[in-house]
């Protein structure tokens, strides 16, 4: 490659390291050291005030026996499953509807509209959604009242609160999967559909037999990204419910936050954080294994 000659004539490795210094030093200090720090801290008891004390696996066993921690993992996994299925399903349906047969100006309009929530802050969205779902004066219950449905206690019952958290999360995030699917659909050559319709495939069958296999690489990437991001859910439950009622909407990241910064159990918080990181890595690994069997690469 000709790029080599550039460096051969002039640049020693030193110059390259200078270019890399800000990024590598930054990643080293603020990502790599913290990862190692987490690993070490997870085996210590430390409240910042007194000296750290080595406790072996006690933080992990304590976390595993703590009902709040267990509930938070259960909640998070439930939220992730429902939110990701909703998010991907809605995104794919809308992408197909927007991509096919729509006049261009409508396509641009809907693409902007569905993408719009992505640019807002999750905290702000949760603030106004909290008002919309308020039991007495919320607009949602007002609309439900119009069709004769009595006021739903959205944020004060476990099921209601979980539903709102998931809906608000999906409302804000489905646009991302939508964009990915839209890109994938635009990449399918027209001839493929023409060939399919010559073979007699129409409507739903066309999508099942042509679209879904052809966009499967995107589906995989979209689901990995959606799962990883939903596993870190924090802003919505923090602003909408503070994890309540009871522990009904407490997520893993909320428990990490409370364990570390409310109860000053930094070791235990690190241990929970490590478990979450392992979960994220396991999900990614599993999905890529599955992809070898089910994803169709053109």
């Amino acid at each position: 490659m000709s790029a080599k000659s550039v460096s051969r004539s002039r640049g020693s490795s030193l110059m390259a390291y200078l270019f890399l210094a800000p990024t590598l030093a930054g990643i080293g200090i603020f990502t790599l050291i913290p990862i190692v720090g987490s690993l070490v801290l997870a085996f210590f008891r430390w409240d910042i005030i007194s000296n750290p004390e080595f406790v072996g696996f006690q933080n992990f066993t304590e976390a595993a026996a703590d009902p709040t921690v267990l509930v938070s993992f259960g909640n998070t996994i439930l939220f992730v499953v429902i939110a990701v299925v909703l998010q991907l399903g809605l995104a794919l349906l809308l992408a197909v509807l927007v991509q096919e047969r729509l006049p261009n100006w409508l396509r641009v309009f809907f693409r902007s509209a569905f993408f719009f929530p992505l640019i807002l802050s999750a905290a702000s969205v949760s603030i106004f959604m909290g008002y919309l779902f308020n039991e007495q004066f919320g607009v949602v219950n007002w609309f439900l009242g119009l069709v004769g449905i009595p006021a739903v206690p959205w944020l004060t019952t476990p099921t209601g609160a979980s539903t709102v958290i998931i809906l608000v999360y999906v409302w804000q995030n489905f646009g991302f999967s939508f964009l990915l699917f839209l890109g994938a659909l635009a990449g399918i050559p027209k001839e493929v559909y023409e060939a399919a319709s010559i073979d007699g495939a129409t409507g739903w069958r066309k999508h099942r037999n042509v679209t879904i296999p052809l966009i499967s690489p995107t589906t995989l990437v979209a689901s990995v990204m959606a799962i990883i991001s939903a596993l870190q859910m924090f802003d919505q439950p923090y602003v909408l419910t503070r994890g309540g009622p009871g522990d009904a909407t407490r997520t893993v990241v909320m428990v990490i936050y409370e364990t570390a910064f409310k109860r000053l159990e930094f070791g235990k918080a690190s241990a929970i954080g490590l478990i979450l990181m392992l979960l994220i890595m396991a999900v990614t690994a599993l999905q890529f294994r599955l992809s070898k069997r089910y994803v169709f690469y053109q």
Binding site: R10, T23, L24, G37, F110, A113, L118, S121, I228
Partner: protein, 286 residues
């Protein structure tokens, strides 16, 4: 028989497209569910503070009242919150653009030992969420004596694995001949980078900058943990505090704050939507 033929031709000429109607109905319905809450937020912020809760809800501000906007400035130090958010977001964006351009350029064009290993390392850190490392980051910040400062928010956010990856891709798409010619003329690598390639890479840099701006302007988790005193709060943190203090008080005042906080994001959306879309989906690239 004649009538039959007529209706048949009429039908053939203008068949009502049920599929299309259903398609548009679904899209309009979802569109309304997406834009409705935002419209309601805007419209309610234009109600007088005392009427925020009044039903029926308002979606179109017929008698705009700016009392809630005046009130949110009285209840929150909006000027300082905006200044903090702008400082934090702006410095992170500029810092990310600079550091990612330099590192991306090195990974694309320069030759050095350990290149592929270092690049893999950078890519590997892209997967690690800040939520997982926040406890050690907090301690690090404390150890550096940066607790409860804006620098605590800025410094850790500058190194960007994603931006480095993006800029490397961008530089790889640029011709190498320019560098060769400049090298023959005796230009140093830094000079070649700064006067030839950095200007050419502006569109890529814009993606890094806009993504950083949008993400950190909206960020809530890190400011919640890394700042303590109100003078260091960013806008989202200030708004959540206001909402918490007021409980179910005057919602139009809180919503006025929410609307104000959306303005920069809205500007980016209006003028940089394409760049933003490209950037967001770049990470999932093929």
């Amino acid at each position: 028989m004649t009538t039959q033929t007529i209706t048949a031709t009429a039908k053939r000429r203008r068949p009502f497209d049920w599929g299309m109607a259903l398609r548009i109905l679904v899209l309009v319905l979802v569109g309304a569910l997406i834009l409705g809450p935002v419209l309601w937020t805007f419209s309610t912020s234009l109600r007088p503070p005392a009427e925020g809760l009044t039903l029926p809800p308002s979606f179109i501000p017929l008698n705009p009242d700016f009392g809630s906007y005046a009130e949110v400035f009285r209840q929150l130090n909006m000027g300082l919150l905006v200044l903090n958010s702008a400082l934090v977001t702006g410095l992170i964006a500029v810092g990310q653009m600079l550091s990612a351009a330099l590192a991306g350029y090195a990974f694309a064009f320069l030759k050095f030992k350990g290149k592929s290993a270092l690049f893999s390392l950078v890519l590997a850190t892209m997967m690690i969420p800040v939520q997982v490392t926040i406890v050690p980051v907090f301690m690090l910040i404390r150890g550096m004596g940066l607790s409860d400062t804006l620098l605590a928010l800025i410094l850790p956010a500058i190194p960007t694995a994603f931006g480095t990856f993006l800029m490397r891709q961008y530089f790889l798409g640029l011709p190498t001949e320019l560098a060769e010619a400049a090298t023959v003329d005796g230009a140093s690598p830094l000079r070649i980078f700064w006067s030839i390639y950095a200007p050419l890479a502006m569109p890529g840099l814009a993606i890094v900058g806009i993504l950083a701006f949008n993400f950190h302007w909206n960020e809530f988790f890190r400011p919640l943990i890394l700042t303590i005193s109100e003078q260091n709060f960013t806008l989202p943190l200030g708004l959540v505090t206001l909402q918490g203090n007021m409980g179910t008080g005057s919602i139009s005042v809180v919503l006025a704050g929410v609307v104000l906080s959306m303005i920069p994001a809205l500007v980016v959306f209006l003028f940089g939507q394409r760049t933003l879309r490209e950037g967001l989906t770049a990470g999932a690239g093929k």
